[in-house]
Protein backbone atom coordinates (compact mmCIF):
# COMPACT_ATOMS: atom_id res chain seq x y z
CA UNK A 1 0.00 0.00 0.00
CA UNK A 2 1.73 3.08 -1.15
CA UNK A 3 0.86 6.43 0.23
CA UNK A 4 2.77 8.23 -2.44
CA UNK A 5 0.13 8.16 -5.09
CA UNK A 6 0.33 11.11 -7.41
CA UNK A 7 -3.14 10.77 -8.86
CA UNK A 8 -4.68 10.49 -5.45
CA UNK A 9 -2.81 13.57 -4.38
CA UNK A 10 -4.13 15.92 -6.98
CA UNK A 11 -7.61 14.56 -6.63
CA UNK A 12 -7.87 15.09 -2.98
CA UNK A 13 -6.06 18.33 -2.42
CA UNK A 14 -7.13 20.18 -5.50
CA UNK A 15 -4.57 21.46 -7.89
CA UNK A 16 -3.83 24.87 -6.46
CA UNK A 17 -1.16 25.21 -3.85
CA UNK A 18 -2.38 27.76 -1.37
CA UNK A 19 0.33 30.22 -0.33
CA UNK A 20 0.93 30.28 3.39
CA UNK A 21 0.96 33.83 4.76
CA UNK A 22 3.97 34.90 6.78
CA UNK A 23 2.00 34.97 10.01
CA UNK A 24 1.81 31.19 10.10
CA UNK A 25 5.38 30.76 11.12
CA UNK A 26 6.31 30.31 14.73
CA UNK A 27 3.36 31.75 16.60
CA UNK A 28 4.03 29.65 19.65
CA UNK A 29 1.83 30.19 22.64
CA UNK A 30 4.79 31.33 24.70
CA UNK A 31 5.43 34.09 22.24
CA UNK A 32 1.85 35.27 22.32
CA UNK A 33 1.85 35.28 26.10
CA UNK A 34 5.11 37.20 26.36
CA UNK A 35 3.80 39.71 23.87
CA UNK A 36 0.62 40.24 25.86
CA UNK A 37 2.60 40.53 29.05
CA UNK A 38 4.92 43.14 27.64
CA UNK A 39 1.95 45.39 27.08
CA UNK A 40 1.09 45.44 30.75
CA UNK A 41 3.14 48.24 32.29
CA UNK A 42 2.55 47.19 35.85
CA UNK A 43 3.74 43.69 35.12
CA UNK A 44 6.82 44.98 33.37
CA UNK A 45 7.69 47.21 36.31
CA UNK A 46 7.17 44.30 38.66
CA UNK A 47 9.31 42.04 36.51
CA UNK A 48 12.11 44.60 36.40
CA UNK A 49 12.13 45.06 40.15
CA UNK A 50 12.10 41.32 40.71
CA UNK A 51 15.08 40.92 38.44
CA UNK A 52 16.93 43.58 40.39
CA UNK A 53 16.07 41.92 43.69
CA UNK A 54 17.12 38.51 42.42
CA UNK A 55 20.36 39.96 41.15
CA UNK A 56 21.03 41.48 44.54
CA UNK A 57 20.12 38.24 46.24
CA UNK A 58 22.53 36.25 44.11
CA UNK A 59 25.43 38.63 44.29
CA UNK A 60 25.01 40.01 47.80
CA UNK A 61 27.54 37.52 49.06
CA UNK A 62 30.09 38.77 46.58
CA UNK A 63 29.43 42.45 46.98
CA UNK A 64 29.24 42.52 50.72
CA UNK A 65 31.36 40.92 53.37
CA UNK A 66 29.06 39.19 55.80
CA UNK A 67 31.12 39.65 58.91
CA UNK A 68 31.98 43.30 58.62
CA UNK A 69 29.15 44.80 56.64
CA UNK A 70 26.18 42.82 57.72
CA UNK A 71 26.59 41.52 61.25
CA UNK A 72 29.60 43.40 62.50
CA UNK A 73 28.65 45.20 65.65
CA UNK A 74 29.78 48.77 65.90
CA UNK A 75 28.32 50.34 68.98
CA UNK A 76 29.83 53.72 68.36
CA UNK A 77 27.88 53.97 65.15
CA UNK A 78 24.53 52.98 66.58
CA UNK A 79 21.25 54.63 65.67
CA UNK A 80 22.61 57.05 63.16
CA UNK A 81 20.03 58.80 61.02
CA UNK A 82 20.03 58.17 57.24
CA UNK A 83 22.86 59.98 55.52
CA UNK A 84 25.03 59.65 52.48
CA UNK A 85 27.30 57.23 54.27
CA UNK A 86 24.42 55.19 55.61
CA UNK A 87 21.48 55.62 53.22
CA UNK A 88 19.08 53.93 55.57
CA UNK A 89 20.81 54.75 58.83
CA UNK A 90 22.23 52.27 61.33
CA UNK A 91 20.45 50.05 63.78
CA UNK A 92 20.82 49.72 67.51
CA UNK A 93 23.98 47.66 67.16
CA UNK A 94 25.61 50.02 64.71
CA UNK A 95 25.05 47.89 61.65
CA UNK A 96 24.31 49.57 58.36
CA UNK A 97 20.66 49.01 57.57
CA UNK A 98 21.06 49.42 53.85
CA UNK A 99 23.59 46.61 53.63
CA UNK A 100 21.43 44.44 55.85
CA UNK A 101 18.44 45.00 53.63
CA UNK A 102 20.44 44.11 50.55
CA UNK A 103 21.68 40.95 52.19
CA UNK A 104 18.26 40.20 53.53
CA UNK A 105 17.05 39.84 49.99
CA UNK A 106 18.80 36.48 49.93
CA UNK A 107 16.63 35.14 52.67
CA UNK A 108 13.42 36.54 51.36
CA UNK A 109 13.93 35.38 47.83
CA UNK A 110 15.24 31.97 48.79
CA UNK A 111 12.55 31.29 51.34
CA UNK A 112 9.88 32.54 48.97
CA UNK A 113 11.08 30.45 46.05
CA UNK A 114 11.93 27.26 47.91
CA UNK A 115 8.76 27.27 49.98
CA UNK A 116 6.67 27.80 46.89
CA UNK A 117 8.55 25.08 45.05
CA UNK A 118 7.85 22.63 47.86
CA UNK A 119 4.18 23.57 47.84
CA UNK A 120 3.99 23.38 44.07
CA UNK A 121 5.87 20.13 43.73
CA UNK A 122 3.72 18.26 46.20
CA UNK A 123 0.51 20.11 45.51
CA UNK A 124 0.54 19.66 41.74
CA UNK A 125 1.13 15.93 41.95
CA UNK A 126 -1.71 15.34 44.35
CA UNK A 127 -3.95 17.76 42.54
CA UNK A 128 -3.33 16.00 39.26
CA UNK A 129 -4.10 12.60 40.73
CA UNK A 130 -7.26 13.91 42.33
CA UNK A 131 -8.38 15.60 39.14
CA UNK A 132 -7.61 12.81 36.74
CA UNK A 133 -8.61 9.71 38.62
CA UNK A 134 -11.50 11.09 40.67
CA UNK A 135 -13.33 8.60 42.83
CA UNK A 136 -11.85 7.47 46.11
CA UNK A 137 -8.39 8.90 45.51
CA UNK A 138 -9.90 12.30 44.88
CA UNK A 139 -12.04 12.17 47.99
CA UNK A 140 -9.15 11.24 50.25
CA UNK A 141 -6.79 13.81 48.80
CA UNK A 142 -9.29 16.63 48.89
CA UNK A 143 -10.39 15.96 52.46
CA UNK A 144 -6.81 15.84 53.71
CA UNK A 145 -6.26 19.02 51.75
CA UNK A 146 -9.18 20.67 53.47
CA UNK A 147 -7.73 19.73 56.87
CA UNK A 148 -4.35 21.19 56.03
CA UNK A 149 -5.82 24.38 54.67
CA UNK A 150 -8.02 24.82 57.71
CA UNK A 151 -4.98 25.37 59.89
CA UNK A 152 -3.92 29.03 59.84
CA UNK A 153 -0.58 29.32 58.13
CA UNK A 154 1.09 31.22 60.93
CA UNK A 155 -0.03 28.64 63.41
CA UNK A 156 1.26 25.87 61.21
CA UNK A 157 4.54 27.69 60.90
CA UNK A 158 4.80 28.13 64.65
CA UNK A 159 4.10 24.47 65.28
CA UNK A 160 6.61 23.18 62.78
CA UNK A 161 9.37 25.56 63.70
CA UNK A 162 8.85 25.00 67.39
CA UNK A 163 8.97 21.27 66.90
CA UNK A 164 11.89 21.13 64.50
CA UNK A 165 13.90 24.17 65.44
CA UNK A 166 14.29 27.64 64.00
CA UNK A 167 16.46 27.15 60.97
CA UNK A 168 16.04 28.61 57.52
CA UNK A 169 15.22 25.26 56.07
CA UNK A 170 12.49 24.56 58.59
CA UNK A 171 11.03 27.92 57.83
CA UNK A 172 10.91 27.01 54.16
CA UNK A 173 9.34 23.68 55.03
CA UNK A 174 6.70 25.25 57.22
CA UNK A 175 5.68 27.81 54.67
CA UNK A 176 5.90 25.23 51.93
CA UNK A 177 3.46 22.95 53.65
CA UNK A 178 0.96 25.74 54.09
CA UNK A 179 1.26 26.47 50.36
CA UNK A 180 0.27 22.98 49.31
CA UNK A 181 -3.56 23.22 49.57
CA UNK A 182 -3.89 26.06 47.08
CA UNK A 183 -1.84 24.20 44.50
CA UNK A 184 -3.83 21.03 45.00
CA UNK A 185 -7.07 22.88 44.44
CA UNK A 186 -5.94 24.81 41.43
CA UNK A 187 -4.31 21.84 39.77
CA UNK A 188 -7.33 19.66 40.35
CA UNK A 189 -9.67 22.24 38.87
CA UNK A 190 -7.46 22.68 35.83
CA UNK A 191 -6.98 18.99 35.33
CA UNK A 192 -10.71 18.38 35.59
CA UNK A 193 -11.44 20.77 32.78
CA UNK A 194 -8.58 19.64 30.56
CA UNK A 195 -9.26 15.97 30.92
CA UNK A 196 -12.72 16.43 29.49
CA UNK A 197 -11.31 17.85 26.32
CA UNK A 198 -11.63 15.73 23.27
CA UNK A 199 -7.94 15.57 22.57
CA UNK A 200 -7.34 13.63 25.75
CA UNK A 201 -9.81 11.05 24.54
CA UNK A 202 -8.10 11.08 21.16
CA UNK A 203 -4.73 10.41 22.76
CA UNK A 204 -6.16 7.52 24.69
CA UNK A 205 -7.63 6.15 21.48
CA UNK A 206 -4.18 6.45 19.92
CA UNK A 207 -2.88 3.96 22.40
CA UNK A 208 -1.20 6.26 24.89
CA UNK A 209 -1.00 5.23 28.52
CA UNK A 210 -2.68 7.37 31.14
CA UNK A 211 0.41 8.42 33.12
CA UNK A 212 1.97 9.60 29.90
CA UNK A 213 -1.14 11.51 28.98
CA UNK A 214 -1.21 13.22 32.36
CA UNK A 215 2.45 14.13 32.31
CA UNK A 216 2.82 15.27 28.72
CA UNK A 217 -0.61 16.48 27.75
CA UNK A 218 -2.80 17.27 30.70
CA UNK A 219 -0.35 19.05 32.97
CA UNK A 220 1.31 21.19 30.31
CA UNK A 221 -2.11 22.52 29.44
CA UNK A 222 -2.80 23.33 33.05
CA UNK A 223 0.30 25.39 33.48
CA UNK A 224 -1.25 28.82 33.25
CA UNK A 225 -3.16 28.94 36.51
CA UNK A 226 -0.32 27.13 38.26
CA UNK A 227 2.21 29.69 37.10
CA UNK A 228 0.04 32.56 38.22
CA UNK A 229 -0.56 30.90 41.55
CA UNK A 230 3.15 30.25 42.02
CA UNK A 231 4.06 33.86 41.40
CA UNK A 232 1.45 35.13 43.82
CA UNK A 233 2.42 32.48 46.30
CA UNK A 234 6.01 33.67 46.38
CA UNK A 235 4.66 37.00 47.49
CA UNK A 236 2.66 35.49 50.33
CA UNK A 237 5.56 33.25 51.27
CA UNK A 238 7.77 36.28 51.72
CA UNK A 239 5.19 37.88 53.97
CA UNK A 240 4.77 34.66 55.89
CA UNK A 241 8.53 34.38 56.36
CA UNK A 242 8.71 37.94 57.53
CA UNK A 243 5.86 37.39 59.93
CA UNK A 244 7.43 34.31 61.44
CA UNK A 245 10.77 36.03 61.74
CA UNK A 246 9.02 38.98 63.31
CA UNK A 247 7.73 36.58 65.95
CA UNK A 248 11.19 35.28 66.44
CA UNK A 249 10.49 31.93 64.84
CA UNK A 250 12.15 32.41 61.55
CA UNK A 251 15.66 32.79 60.40
CA UNK A 252 17.86 32.98 63.49
CA UNK A 253 19.39 36.25 64.67
CA UNK A 254 21.68 37.93 63.64
CA UNK A 255 20.65 37.13 60.08
CA UNK A 256 19.29 40.28 58.43
CA UNK A 257 15.89 38.94 57.55
CA UNK A 258 13.49 41.78 56.92
CA UNK A 259 10.87 40.53 59.31
CA UNK A 260 13.26 40.17 62.21
CA UNK A 261 14.67 43.61 61.43
CA UNK A 262 11.12 44.91 61.76
CA UNK A 263 10.79 43.16 65.04
CA UNK A 264 14.00 44.61 66.42
CA UNK A 265 13.03 48.06 65.33
CA UNK A 266 9.77 47.94 67.20
CA UNK A 267 11.10 49.52 70.35
CA UNK A 268 12.49 52.42 68.38
CA UNK A 269 9.43 53.15 66.29
CA UNK A 270 9.09 56.64 67.71
CA UNK A 271 12.65 57.67 68.10
CA UNK A 272 14.28 55.97 65.14
CA UNK A 273 11.48 55.03 62.84
CA UNK A 274 13.87 54.41 59.99
CA UNK A 275 14.68 51.10 61.66
CA UNK A 276 11.25 49.84 60.71
CA UNK A 277 10.40 51.91 57.68
CA UNK A 278 13.12 50.67 55.42
CA UNK A 279 12.79 46.93 56.02
CA UNK A 280 9.05 47.43 55.76
CA UNK A 281 9.48 49.18 52.41
CA UNK A 282 11.68 46.37 51.21
CA UNK A 283 8.96 43.85 52.00
CA UNK A 284 6.33 46.06 50.42
CA UNK A 285 8.20 46.58 47.16
CA UNK A 286 9.15 42.93 46.79
CA UNK A 287 5.69 41.61 47.48
CA UNK A 288 4.07 44.24 45.29
CA UNK A 289 6.34 43.36 42.39
CA UNK A 290 5.48 39.69 42.58
CA UNK A 291 1.81 40.55 42.77
CA UNK A 292 2.03 42.84 39.76
CA UNK A 293 3.82 40.18 37.79
CA UNK A 294 1.35 37.53 38.88
CA UNK A 295 -1.63 39.66 37.90
CA UNK A 296 0.00 40.49 34.60
CA UNK A 297 0.62 36.82 33.92
CA UNK A 298 -2.94 35.98 34.74
CA UNK A 299 -4.20 38.53 32.23
CA UNK A 300 -1.66 37.53 29.59
CA UNK A 301 -2.57 33.87 29.93
CA UNK A 302 -6.28 34.46 29.86
CA UNK A 303 -7.45 32.83 26.64
CA UNK A 304 -10.30 35.29 26.24
CA UNK A 305 -7.86 38.12 25.90
CA UNK A 306 -5.90 36.36 23.20
CA UNK A 307 -6.51 37.67 19.72
Amino acid sequence: MSYRNETLQSQITGSKDIPIPKRYVRQTQTRIVLHNLSKNKGAMVGLFIIMVIVFIAIFADVLLDYETDVVGINISQRLLRPSWKHPCGTDDLGRDIFYRILYGARFSVSVGVVATTIGLGIGVIFGAIAGYYCGLAEDIIMRVNDIVSAVPSILMGIVIVSALGATTFNLMLAIGITSIPQFVRITRASVLSVRNQEYIEALYASGMSEPRIIAFHVLPNCLSPIIVQATLRIASAIIAASSLSFLGLGVPVPAPEWGSMLSMGRQYVRSASYLTIFPGLAILITVLSFNLLGDGLRDALDPKLKK
Binding site: N5, I12, R23, Q27, E198, Y199, A202, S206
Partner: protein, 315 residues
Protein backbone atom coordinates in the same frame (compact mmCIF):
# COMPACT_ATOMS: atom_id res chain seq x y z
CA UNK B 1 -18.08 -14.62 7.73
CA UNK B 2 -14.47 -13.75 7.18
CA UNK B 3 -15.44 -10.79 5.10
CA UNK B 4 -16.88 -8.91 8.04
CA UNK B 5 -14.52 -6.42 9.60
CA UNK B 6 -16.87 -5.44 12.41
CA UNK B 7 -19.86 -7.08 13.99
CA UNK B 8 -21.81 -5.46 16.77
CA UNK B 9 -24.34 -7.63 18.58
CA UNK B 10 -27.01 -6.23 20.86
CA UNK B 11 -24.74 -3.53 22.21
CA UNK B 12 -26.00 -1.61 25.19
CA UNK B 13 -24.67 1.32 27.15
CA UNK B 14 -26.59 2.57 30.12
CA UNK B 15 -25.59 5.43 32.37
CA UNK B 16 -26.71 5.77 35.93
CA UNK B 17 -28.04 9.25 36.61
CA UNK B 18 -29.75 10.80 39.57
CA UNK B 19 -33.06 10.61 37.74
CA UNK B 20 -32.75 7.00 36.70
CA UNK B 21 -31.04 4.77 34.15
CA UNK B 22 -30.17 6.55 30.93
CA UNK B 23 -30.39 4.15 28.01
CA UNK B 24 -27.96 5.84 25.66
CA UNK B 25 -27.41 2.82 23.43
CA UNK B 26 -30.06 0.15 23.77
CA UNK B 27 -29.53 -3.02 21.83
CA UNK B 28 -27.77 -2.01 18.61
CA UNK B 29 -26.68 -4.66 16.13
CA UNK B 30 -25.04 -4.28 12.74
CA UNK B 31 -22.07 -5.46 10.74
CA UNK B 32 -19.78 -4.07 8.07
CA UNK B 33 -17.82 -5.74 5.33
CA UNK B 34 -14.22 -4.91 4.65
CA UNK B 35 -13.78 -1.77 2.63
CA UNK B 36 -17.35 -0.66 3.05
CA UNK B 37 -19.04 2.16 4.94
CA UNK B 38 -22.02 2.09 7.22
CA UNK B 39 -23.68 5.38 7.98
CA UNK B 40 -25.19 5.84 11.43
CA UNK B 41 -27.70 8.65 11.17
CA UNK B 42 -29.72 10.33 13.86
CA UNK B 43 -30.36 13.59 15.62
CA UNK B 44 -29.10 14.77 18.96
CA UNK B 45 -29.93 12.42 21.78
CA UNK B 46 -30.16 9.31 19.64
CA UNK B 47 -26.99 7.83 21.08
CA UNK B 48 -24.88 7.69 17.94
CA UNK B 49 -21.89 9.43 19.50
CA UNK B 50 -22.00 7.10 22.50
CA UNK B 51 -22.26 4.16 20.08
CA UNK B 52 -19.11 5.29 18.29
CA UNK B 53 -17.15 5.52 21.50
CA UNK B 54 -18.51 2.26 22.83
CA UNK B 55 -17.39 0.37 19.75
CA UNK B 56 -13.88 1.58 20.46
CA UNK B 57 -14.30 0.86 24.15
CA UNK B 58 -13.44 4.44 25.00
CA UNK B 59 -16.64 3.98 26.94
CA UNK B 60 -17.18 0.51 28.34
CA UNK B 61 -20.32 -1.25 27.08
CA UNK B 62 -22.90 -2.34 29.61
CA UNK B 63 -23.64 -5.51 27.64
CA UNK B 64 -23.43 -6.91 24.14
CA UNK B 65 -20.56 -7.96 21.92
CA UNK B 66 -18.12 -6.30 19.59
CA UNK B 67 -16.31 -8.53 17.13
CA UNK B 68 -13.38 -7.19 15.18
CA UNK B 69 -12.49 -9.50 12.31
CA UNK B 70 -14.20 -12.33 14.12
CA UNK B 71 -12.39 -11.74 17.39
CA UNK B 72 -14.45 -10.77 20.43
CA UNK B 73 -12.91 -7.60 21.81
CA UNK B 74 -15.62 -6.75 24.32
CA UNK B 75 -13.94 -8.19 27.37
CA UNK B 76 -10.27 -7.76 26.54
CA UNK B 77 -8.00 -6.32 29.18
CA UNK B 78 -6.46 -2.88 28.92
CA UNK B 79 -3.15 -4.22 27.73
CA UNK B 80 -4.67 -6.44 25.06
CA UNK B 81 -6.99 -3.65 23.97
CA UNK B 82 -3.98 -1.41 23.43
CA UNK B 83 -2.80 -3.73 20.67
CA UNK B 84 -6.20 -3.78 19.08
CA UNK B 85 -6.43 0.00 19.07
CA UNK B 86 -4.09 0.12 16.14
CA UNK B 87 -6.78 -1.40 13.96
CA UNK B 88 -9.65 0.60 15.31
CA UNK B 89 -9.36 4.37 15.09
CA UNK B 90 -11.56 7.42 15.45
CA UNK B 91 -11.88 10.86 13.90
CA UNK B 92 -13.63 13.45 16.02
CA UNK B 93 -16.13 16.13 15.20
CA UNK B 94 -14.46 19.24 16.52
CA UNK B 95 -11.17 19.71 14.75
CA UNK B 96 -10.04 22.16 17.35
CA UNK B 97 -10.65 20.43 20.63
CA UNK B 98 -9.47 17.05 19.34
CA UNK B 99 -5.88 18.25 19.03
CA UNK B 100 -3.51 19.16 21.84
CA UNK B 101 -3.06 22.90 21.36
CA UNK B 102 0.50 22.73 22.62
CA UNK B 103 1.77 20.35 19.99
CA UNK B 104 2.73 21.10 16.41
CA UNK B 105 1.49 18.83 13.64
CA UNK B 106 4.84 17.13 13.56
CA UNK B 107 4.90 16.58 17.32
CA UNK B 108 1.38 15.18 17.36
CA UNK B 109 2.07 12.68 14.61
CA UNK B 110 5.55 11.80 15.84
CA UNK B 111 4.26 10.99 19.28
CA UNK B 112 1.59 8.65 17.96
CA UNK B 113 4.10 6.82 15.82
CA UNK B 114 6.68 6.58 18.58
CA UNK B 115 4.35 5.44 21.33
CA UNK B 116 2.90 2.70 19.18
CA UNK B 117 6.29 1.71 17.81
CA UNK B 118 5.04 1.84 14.27
CA UNK B 119 8.44 3.05 13.12
CA UNK B 120 11.69 3.58 14.95
CA UNK B 121 14.61 5.82 14.38
CA UNK B 122 14.35 9.58 14.04
CA UNK B 123 14.68 9.73 10.27
CA UNK B 124 12.25 6.88 9.68
CA UNK B 125 9.68 8.52 11.87
CA UNK B 126 10.14 11.87 10.18
CA UNK B 127 9.68 10.28 6.78
CA UNK B 128 6.52 8.63 7.92
CA UNK B 129 5.18 11.93 9.27
CA UNK B 130 5.84 13.59 5.93
CA UNK B 131 4.20 10.71 4.13
CA UNK B 132 1.10 11.01 6.25
CA UNK B 133 0.89 14.74 5.78
CA UNK B 134 1.12 14.30 2.06
CA UNK B 135 -1.55 11.63 2.05
CA UNK B 136 -4.05 13.91 3.71
CA UNK B 137 -3.07 16.92 1.68
CA UNK B 138 -1.12 18.98 4.19
CA UNK B 139 1.82 20.88 2.83
CA UNK B 140 5.24 20.03 4.23
CA UNK B 141 5.69 23.64 5.20
CA UNK B 142 3.03 23.23 7.89
CA UNK B 143 5.09 20.73 9.85
CA UNK B 144 5.85 23.07 12.68
CA UNK B 145 2.56 24.91 12.93
CA UNK B 146 0.16 24.76 15.83
CA UNK B 147 -3.53 23.93 15.52
CA UNK B 148 -4.64 27.43 16.40
CA UNK B 149 -2.78 28.78 13.39
CA UNK B 150 -4.76 26.65 10.97
CA UNK B 151 -8.32 26.64 9.72
CA UNK B 152 -10.88 23.95 10.50
CA UNK B 153 -10.33 22.00 7.32
CA UNK B 154 -6.61 21.65 7.84
CA UNK B 155 -7.05 20.75 11.48
CA UNK B 156 -9.42 18.00 10.51
CA UNK B 157 -6.82 16.70 8.10
CA UNK B 158 -4.40 16.45 11.02
CA UNK B 159 -7.00 14.41 12.86
CA UNK B 160 -7.31 12.12 9.87
CA UNK B 161 -3.53 11.83 9.58
CA UNK B 162 -3.34 10.88 13.23
CA UNK B 163 -5.91 8.16 12.73
CA UNK B 164 -4.06 6.89 9.66
CA UNK B 165 -0.74 6.88 11.48
CA UNK B 166 -1.78 3.70 13.24
CA UNK B 167 -2.52 2.01 9.91
CA UNK B 168 -6.00 1.05 11.00
CA UNK B 169 -8.48 -1.23 9.34
CA UNK B 170 -11.59 0.51 10.56
CA UNK B 171 -12.19 4.16 11.35
CA UNK B 172 -15.15 5.50 13.28
CA UNK B 173 -15.85 8.95 11.87
CA UNK B 174 -17.83 10.91 14.44
CA UNK B 175 -19.42 13.78 12.51
CA UNK B 176 -16.11 14.57 10.84
CA UNK B 177 -17.43 17.38 8.66
CA UNK B 178 -20.22 18.92 10.71
CA UNK B 179 -18.06 21.68 12.10
CA UNK B 180 -16.63 22.66 8.74
CA UNK B 181 -17.69 25.08 6.07
CA UNK B 182 -19.57 23.76 3.09
CA UNK B 183 -16.76 23.88 0.57
CA UNK B 184 -14.27 22.42 3.01
CA UNK B 185 -16.73 19.64 3.86
CA UNK B 186 -16.62 18.51 0.28
CA UNK B 187 -12.81 18.48 0.31
CA UNK B 188 -12.69 16.34 3.43
CA UNK B 189 -15.40 13.97 2.19
CA UNK B 190 -13.52 13.44 -1.04
CA UNK B 191 -10.36 12.82 0.96
CA UNK B 192 -12.07 10.20 3.10
CA UNK B 193 -13.52 8.55 0.06
CA UNK B 194 -10.18 8.50 -1.71
CA UNK B 195 -8.49 7.00 1.34
CA UNK B 196 -11.09 4.28 1.51
CA UNK B 197 -10.51 3.32 -2.09
CA UNK B 198 -6.76 3.34 -1.84
CA UNK B 199 -6.21 1.85 1.57
CA UNK B 200 -9.23 -0.45 1.72
CA UNK B 201 -10.48 1.20 4.89
CA UNK B 202 -13.86 0.52 6.42
CA UNK B 203 -15.83 3.34 8.02
CA UNK B 204 -18.52 3.71 10.60
CA UNK B 205 -19.72 7.14 9.55
CA UNK B 206 -21.72 8.88 12.24
CA UNK B 207 -23.64 11.99 11.23
CA UNK B 208 -26.92 13.83 11.53
CA UNK B 209 -26.80 14.85 7.89
CA UNK B 210 -28.39 12.29 5.57
CA UNK B 211 -27.27 14.18 2.50
CA UNK B 212 -23.65 13.63 3.47
CA UNK B 213 -23.89 9.86 3.94
CA UNK B 214 -25.83 9.59 0.76
CA UNK B 215 -22.66 9.95 -1.19
CA UNK B 216 -20.53 7.22 0.12
CA UNK B 217 -22.21 5.02 2.64
CA UNK B 218 -23.10 1.58 1.35
CA UNK B 219 -25.59 1.00 4.12
CA UNK B 220 -27.39 3.33 6.48
CA UNK B 221 -28.77 2.71 9.95
CA UNK B 222 -31.15 5.31 11.36
CA UNK B 223 -31.07 5.68 15.13
CA UNK B 224 -33.65 7.05 17.47
CA UNK B 225 -33.29 7.16 21.26
CA UNK B 226 -30.63 4.50 21.42
CA UNK B 227 -32.11 2.03 18.97
CA UNK B 228 -31.84 1.40 15.28
CA UNK B 229 -35.26 2.00 13.76
CA UNK B 230 -34.36 1.29 10.15
CA UNK B 231 -31.40 -0.20 8.36
CA UNK B 232 -31.03 -0.63 4.63
CA UNK B 233 -28.63 -0.16 1.73
CA UNK B 234 -28.35 3.52 0.94
CA UNK B 235 -30.27 3.64 -2.28
CA UNK B 236 -33.05 1.48 -0.89
CA UNK B 237 -33.36 3.73 2.15
CA UNK B 238 -33.68 6.87 0.07
CA UNK B 239 -36.06 5.40 -2.45
CA UNK B 240 -38.21 3.45 -0.07
CA UNK B 241 -38.05 4.69 3.50
CA UNK B 242 -40.41 2.63 5.62
CA UNK B 243 -40.11 3.90 9.17
CA UNK B 244 -42.11 7.09 9.86
CA UNK B 245 -39.06 8.68 11.46
CA UNK B 246 -36.90 8.03 8.43
CA UNK B 247 -39.62 9.47 6.24
CA UNK B 248 -39.82 12.59 8.37
CA UNK B 249 -36.05 12.92 8.40
CA UNK B 250 -35.83 12.68 4.66
CA UNK B 251 -38.58 15.18 4.09
CA UNK B 252 -36.96 17.65 6.46
CA UNK B 253 -33.67 17.88 4.58
CA UNK B 254 -33.45 21.23 2.82
CA UNK B 255 -32.83 20.72 -0.86
CA UNK B 256 -30.80 23.33 -2.70
CA UNK B 257 -33.12 23.49 -5.66
CA UNK B 258 -36.11 25.55 -6.58
CA UNK B 259 -38.95 23.09 -6.34
CA UNK B 260 -42.65 23.09 -6.17
CA UNK B 261 -44.02 22.55 -2.71
CA UNK B 262 -42.79 19.21 -1.50
CA UNK B 263 -44.86 17.10 0.86
CA UNK B 264 -43.40 17.76 4.26
CA UNK B 265 -43.86 15.43 7.13
CA UNK B 266 -43.66 17.58 10.19
CA UNK B 267 -43.21 15.75 13.42
CA UNK B 268 -45.07 16.93 16.41
CA UNK B 269 -43.35 17.64 19.68
CA UNK B 270 -39.80 16.99 20.75
CA UNK B 271 -37.61 14.00 21.46
CA UNK B 272 -38.58 12.19 24.64
CA UNK B 273 -36.22 11.30 27.44
CA UNK B 274 -33.93 8.27 27.21
CA UNK B 275 -34.14 7.83 30.98
CA UNK B 276 -36.07 4.79 32.17
CA UNK B 277 -37.89 4.25 28.87
CA UNK B 278 -41.11 2.32 28.99
CA UNK B 279 -41.77 -0.80 27.00
CA UNK B 280 -43.38 0.90 24.04
CA UNK B 281 -42.28 2.31 20.71
CA UNK B 282 -40.08 5.23 21.63
CA UNK B 283 -41.14 7.17 18.61
CA UNK B 284 -44.87 6.81 19.32
CA UNK B 285 -45.15 10.22 20.95
CA UNK B 286 -44.22 12.02 17.78
CA UNK B 287 -45.47 9.58 15.21
CA UNK B 288 -48.38 10.48 12.98
CA UNK B 289 -49.62 6.93 13.30
CA UNK B 290 -49.47 5.76 16.91
CA UNK B 291 -51.63 2.65 17.03
CA UNK B 292 -52.53 0.82 20.16
CA UNK B 293 -49.80 -1.78 19.74
CA UNK B 294 -47.22 0.98 19.50
CA UNK B 295 -47.86 1.71 23.15
CA UNK B 296 -47.72 -1.85 24.33
CA UNK B 297 -44.38 -3.15 23.15
CA UNK B 298 -41.12 -1.87 21.80
CA UNK B 299 -40.99 -3.00 18.16
CA UNK B 300 -38.08 -5.24 17.19
CA UNK B 301 -35.90 -4.68 14.17
CA UNK B 302 -36.89 -7.22 11.54
CA UNK B 303 -36.16 -7.83 7.92
CA UNK B 304 -39.05 -6.85 5.68
CA UNK B 305 -37.27 -7.16 2.36
CA UNK B 306 -33.77 -8.33 1.44
CA UNK B 307 -31.35 -6.45 3.69
CA UNK B 308 -33.99 -3.88 4.63
CA UNK B 309 -34.73 -3.90 8.36
CA UNK B 310 -37.41 -1.84 10.12
CA UNK B 311 -38.61 -1.61 13.72
CA UNK B 312 -42.21 -0.57 13.36
CA UNK B 313 -45.62 -2.13 13.86
CA UNK B 314 -47.14 -0.27 10.96
CA UNK B 315 -44.96 -1.99 8.41
Amino acid sequence: MSNMILEVKDLKKHFKTSRGMLHAVDGVSFSIEKGKTIGIVGESGCGKTTLGRTILRLVEPTSGEIMLEGKNITKLSRGEMKKIRKDLQIIFQDPFSSLDPRNTISQTLTEVIKVNRIRSGKQEIKNRVLELMETVGLSERLMNTYPHELDGGRRQRIGIARALAMEPKLIVCDEPVSALDVSIQAQILNLLQGLQENLKLSYVFITHDLAVVNHFANEIAVMYLGQIVEKAPTEELFNNPLHPYTQALLSAIPIPEVLEKRPQILLKGEITSPINPKDECRFANRCLHDYRECRQHNPILREVSPNHFVACFKV
